[in-house]
Every structure is written in C-alpha cells, then in structure tokens.
C-alpha cells in the first residue's frame, strides 16, 4: 500500500492511478464533510467533485507540513462555502427570528445515544446560515473570526448564529431523545 506522501508525489505528476487511489482513500470522508454543507447528497457529490478537481490541480501547493487530511478537508470546506455563496441568492431563507425564543439548555448528551444519521438530519434541518456557522465552529473547529472572514459576515453574527443554532439543535435533540426513549422502552 502506498503512503500518502507517495500518492501526493505521483498526483503532482498527474498520475492517473495515484489520483484514483487518492479518491478511493478519501472520498468517503470528504463526502461526509461536504454533506454537512449541502442540502442533499447530489449537491454534496457535486461539491465533492469540485473539491477533488481542486485537490488534483493544486496538490503541489500542499506544503507537506501539517496534516494532509486537514488540508483535504480545508479544500472541501472552502469549496462548499463557495457553493453556499453561489446558492445563497436562490435559497429560501427561513426567518431566523422564529428560533430566538428557544432557551439554551445545559443538557449534555450521551455520545452513542444518537446515530450520525440522526445528528445529520437535525443539522440538515437548520437554516443554511446557522448550519454553516455551526458546522464550521463546532465540527470543523474554526474560530469565529475565521468563520466571519470565510462567510463574509460579522464576527458577532457568527457568534450569535452559533448560539442560536446550538439552542435549536438542543431543542430538537431533546425532543428526539424523548421520542427515542419512549420507543426503546416500548420495545
């Protein structure tokens, strides 16, 4: 099995085989990333394709320092943000104010209580702006200042959207949790 370093070297020379290996190795992970930013799987796959094109053509720019996976994720996230900006004007905006009344609870959650699919579904139901900020902050681990720059919004907007997103998610998870426990008890 080839190491990442070897694959990077070969990809830089546009070696078709190496490119295929790179795709096979990381496409699932990156699709997982893309999916969190896209409205559906088809859009996520589009973003994935664009990301890979960028990766293949710019692989020389990967300096070698820092994690390669981190670099791949960064490319995918950036591509997703570009796509988000493109779609922004066509997308239906849900009035954010609807969610303000939600109280931010302090409930903590058990890691394995919810499946990834359920979490994803909750995430996907968020308004696009919330989802972007929540994804970038909570999952990707960017700082609010970085997020503000990436999305072209104010740092405070990023912060407030994150806290609102959190409140909405918490609310949804709690409801889902109740439903789930009812079902599991009846099982």
């Amino acid at each position: 099995m080839m190491s990442d370093q070897q694959i990077i070297k070969l990809c830089a020379k546009h070696d078709r085989k190496a490119q295929q290996i790179l795709y096979d190795r990381y496409s699932r992970l990156l699709l997982g990333v893309c999916l969190r930013y896209a409205t559906d799987k088809a859009e996520a796959e589009d973003i994935l394709q664009d990301s890979f094109l960028k990766i293949f053509f710019n692989i020389k720019e990967y300096s070698g320092s820092g994690s390669f996976i981190g670099w791949l994720r960064k490319v995918a996230v950036n591509t997703a943000i570009t796509q988000y900006h493109k779609n922004l004007k066509y997308r239906y905006h849900i009035d954010i104010e609807d969610y303000i009344s939600v109280e931010a609870g302090t409930t903590s959650f058990e890691e394995d209580f919810f499946t990834s699919d359920e979490l994803f579904k909750v995430l996907n139901e968020l308004p696009a702006g919330y989802r972007m900020v929540f994804n970038l902050y909570a999952v990707e681990g960017y700082k609010h200042k970085e997020i503000a720059e990436m999305l072209g919004i104010d740092t405070n907007t990023s912060k407030s959207q994150y806290s609102r997103a959190k409140a909405v998610i918490r609310d949804k998870l709690e409801k889902l949790g109740k439903l789930k426990s009812i079902y599991s008890e009846s099982d």
Partner: protein, 443 residues
C-alpha cells in the same frame, strides 16, 4: 447501560460523531470526476503526458495556420489598402469614447455650411491620432445629418466619403466586441465637472478596486465618479479573484475645461431705452457665443451692440461654448436696474420767428434750439410750467414730448429771462422737482 456512557456537550457530540463521518459516494461520482479531470488535463499542456492527442492538435493547428496565412496573403494582394489598418486603429478606441452630446452642439453643426462638414470629415484622421477625438465626431455628423438641409446630404452621398466612413465603422464595431474589456464607462469625453458612471463587466470576482487617476478610488462594482478638473485621466480597474489572481483594465477619460461666461454692460449705468448698449465679453475658454437681450432679440457676435426700443426690465443672458461643445451660461436679471434717470433743461432758446410751432420736437428737428424742452430718461409723470418775470404762467404742459416754442397766445415773447418749473416722477417712482430760468434770445 445508557448511564454508563460519558455525557458530553453539544459541540463535542457533533464533532465526534460527524467530524469523521464517512459517506460512500455514488459510483458515478468517481467516473464523472475522472472524465472531468481528463478533460481539464487535456486542455493543460503537459510535456510528460505528450500523446497522440497533442500531436494531432499540433498538426491541425499547424495546417490551419498555414491556410490562414495563405488566405491573408491573397486578400492582401487583392485590396492593398493601408486605410483599413488606420481606421481599425482609431476605432479600437471607439468604445471608450462614447460622446457626450451637448445639446448646443447640434445647432452648431447645423449652422455650419457644407464646407465645414467636409472639413470635419477630412480632418478626422488627423484629429484622432493626436487627441482621440475622432470617434466622437463621427456620430455627431452621423446623427445630425437627418437635420441637415437635403442638399448637403446629397452632396455627401454622391462623394461617398461620409457613407464609407460610417460603413467601415459599423463593420469594425461588430468585429471587435468589447466584451474582453472590463470597463464600460457611459461617457469618457465631456466637460468638467464630468460625472461618469463606470461598469465593471467582469462576471465573477472577489473584489475590485477602481482608481480614477485623480487620486480617487472606489471599491464599488459600478461606481460613479465626478471629475472636477479638466484633464486626461487614466482610470484603472483591478479585479481580484478568490484564487489570488488579478486582472486589470484601463480606460481613458478626457475632461475638457468648461468655459466661463462673463460679460458687462457698457456704459455701466446704461439707460433703457435711449442708450446704445455695448456688451463687453469677458468669457474664457469659449469660441462661440449666444446672446439673448431679453427683448426677443438674439445675437451671436462676440461683443454685440444693442438698443432697446422701450423701457422694461430686461434679463440678458449669454451662453459661451467652447471648442469641445462645453458650455456655460450667465444671465443677468434686470440688467439695467442701475440705470441713471435724469431730466435736464437748457438755459436758452432761440424761438422760430416765423410763427409758433406748437412745441413738437425731436432731438433731430430741434437742432436750432427753437423749442424749450428737456433731455431726459425714464420719466413717467411730468408737468412743466413757464412763468414770466411777473409770475404769470405763460406756458403749461403735461406732455413731455411737447416743449415751449417761445410763443404766448400766438405772440412771440420778448427776449429776456423766463422762469421754468418742472415736477414729476421717474419710472422707478422717484419724484423730481426742478426750477430754473431760460433766456429767450433774439433770432
């Protein structure tokens, strides 16, 4: 069992569960991607991947090149015209130079005769090379030709000079679509202060920066800029793309100085309607002038002279027009408000010994000073009385146009000193009362 699990925060929950979540993409995604990759790479030349496609491409482009070259030589032999290239050169400037039409300009062209139009046509190539003005001039004549007397149109049509220019113009215009240009100013030649709206034609970019050549700049997509001072400005648009690339485009904006209309009235306290009034022209940067004296009379002289026929308030206006069609106007409202009204009487007359004249006079008929009458201006109310030495009124009139002829009841008065008294009002409402004596001299 659930309770043994570790309780974690929301952020950790998502980053742990979703951060590394893997989703299997559709198989078609991979094949699609590889196709797109192949297409993109094919378009990028890469020596290490030199293959049959590149070879084919090179052969095809070589053959097309040869074919083009030979066809070019053919046409070159057929119509060996250096004019073509010249028109092309000037025309490439054309989409920068959309003319700012001064409404006055039109009239100027019309007032010109056939000769001058020919002139402008002939001088076109000349002008354009130096100052880039030509393209603005063609549309002028083009558009105004409708308004020209038909004879002029015909004479141009026969020679074909005019039509030719227009035709080549049209052809070249369609050939060189200015799409590559990022800048589209709505006007690039005009008079100071010139307001220009710029359009950024690039479709997708991250940010842009306009520098206007006068120290100003803007980051707007389609900024509006006012050039206050005359001059030639190089407007640069830099466009930055998200991938760090940038491109720039340049347009030239020519701002012509605006003339300044200025005039004075001579004499300074001219009296309407009597005085002959000279308008002193102090306008700068102007070559053409349009005067309106306010009484319906107009003039295009540099310094016109005008006599008003009656008393009124007149607004005098001057429009000064520069070489470039830039104009400025000055209107002086109630230009003769400074008028000095007066009424003056002579101190002696020599009555006509042949008999009474009735006192009618005019400045011409009374050269012999036979009638006692005032020199005046702006008088509205008037009453004149003449007294004898004994204080008896021997003449009285309310009509300023009738003077005293030196007779009393049909008899010539004796030579000597008589007293006159006048009272009345000037047109501005100011009253006057004057007294004096007049000596009747023996004829």
């Amino acid at each position: 069992m659930k309770k043994e699990k570790e309780n974690i925060g929301l952020r950790d929950l998502f980053s742990r569960k979703l951060g590394k979540a893997e989703v299997i993409p559709d198989a078609s995604v991979k094949s699609d991607l590889m196709r797109r990759l192949a297409r993109k790479e094919f378009l990028r030349f890469n020596a290490s991947r030199f293959n049959i496609y590149y070879l084919g491409g090179i052969i095809i482009s070589g053959i097309t090149g040869l074919l083009l070259l030979s066809s070019y030589e053919n046409t070159h032999h057929l119509n060996n015209s250096p004019i073509k290239e010249e028109t092309f050169k000037t025309d490439s400037l054309n989409y920068f130079k959309i003319p700012v039409q001064q409404p006055d300009r039109k009239a100027q062209v019309i007032s010109d005769n056939t000769l001058s139009i020919k002139n402008s046509n002939v001088s076109i190539s000349h002008l354009s090379d130096k100052e880039g003005i030509k393209p603005t001039k063609i549309p002028y004549t083009n558009r105004d030709s409708v308004l020209l007397p038909t004879s002029i149109n015909k004479s141009i049509g026969k020679k074909g000079l005019f039509n030719d220019t227009a035709a080549t113009n049209q052809k070249l215009k369609s050939k060189y679509i200015p799409d590559e240009l990022l800048i589209d100013p709505n006007a690039s030649v005009g008079c100071a202060p010139l307001k220009v709206r710029f359009h950024n034609r690039s479709t997708s970019y991250d940010s842009c920066r306009w520098t206007f050549g006068d120290g100003g700049y803007s980051d707007k997509r389609d900024p509006e800029w006012i050039f206050d001072l005359a001059g030639e400005y190089k407007v640069v648009l830099n466009v930055y793309y998200d991938d760090g690339k940038q491109s720039s485009s340049v347009a030239t904006v020519i701002v012509h100085p605006r003339p300044q209309a200025h005039f004075e009235v001579s004499p300074a306290k001219a009296v309407v309607p009597n005085d002959e009034i000279r308008f002193l022209n102090y306008s700068t940067n102007a070559v053409q002038f349009r005067w309106k004296f306010g009484d319906g009379v107009a003039s295009e002289s540099f310094e016109p002279v005008h006599i008003y026929s009656k008393y009124a308030k007149y607004n005098v206006s001057l429009v000064a027009i520069s070489d470039w069609g830039c104009s400025d106007s000055l209107t002086v409202i109630n230009a003769f408000s400074d008028s000095k009204y007066y009424i003056e009487f002579p101190n002696a007359i020599i009555p006509n010994s042949q008999g009474p004249s009735g006192g009618y006079y005019s400045s011409k008929s009374d050269e012999g000073a036979q009638v006692f009458h005032p020199s005046f201006t702006g008088v509205s109310d008037y009453q004149l009385k003449i007294f004898s030495k004994l204080g008896i009124v021997i003449f009285e009139t309310n009509d300023i146009n009738i003077g005293w002829d030196g007779y009393n009841k049909g008899q010539l008065c004796d030579p000597g000193v008589y007293i006159w008294k006048v009272r009345g009002k000037f047109r501005n409402g100011e009253p006057f009362i004057k007294m004096g004596d007049v000596t009747i001299l023996k004829n």
